[in-house]
Symmetry: C2
């Protein structure tokens, strides 16, 4: 199979019913990085997994981090690797001193 | 990159804003074939593309077919290839003589 890079992979636990969360994550990333991502793959898994990978790098693991990624944080992780000059908008400016939105 | 098979690929036109349609298609397939699909990839494209592939086979092409796939039809195309014994429910029974729902 040919895949497109950069490739994001969202592996989610089907037993936990996290498909909608994974689908939302995929669409958020593709909305922000419209033409900068080669593909985003939704990967059914089990056992409480919610892992986000960029190419071969694990960006987020629910088990390691103890929870789900904040969307603004996840976008920053992706941005830093594929489009470091991109400004992600108000949620990207720490100087405001407010909590980041998505 | 390692991919999981069977792999479905939904390539959509970003200029046409078909991400939501592609995302919905991916989630419908993963809802029906919860653990039978290895992954579903969303692939940004251009120029009016809306193609659905299963591994290396083109299942649906908007340009060839002249429109978008009916979800029930698309699920049957996938089912016939990865889970031929699966009954897809009421929309799968032609004997009813009614139009198929999703």
């Amino acid at each position: 199979m040919t895949t497109r890079q950069p490739r994001v992979e969202v592996e989610y636990c089907t037993q936990c019913r996290w498909l909608l969360r994974a689908g939302w994550t995929a669409q958020e990333l593709l909305t922000t990085f419209t033409t900068e991502l080669g593909e985003v793959a939704l990967v059914p898994g089990t056992g409480g997994v919610f892992d986000v990978r960029l190419d071969d790098e694990l960006l987020w693991s629910r088990k390691a981090e103890g929870g789900f990624p904040e969307m603004a944080v996840l976008k920053q992780l992706v941005r830093d690797r594929i489009a470091p000059d991109r400004d992600l908008g108000h949620s990207d400016r720490k100087a405001s001193g407010r909590d980041a939105g998505a």
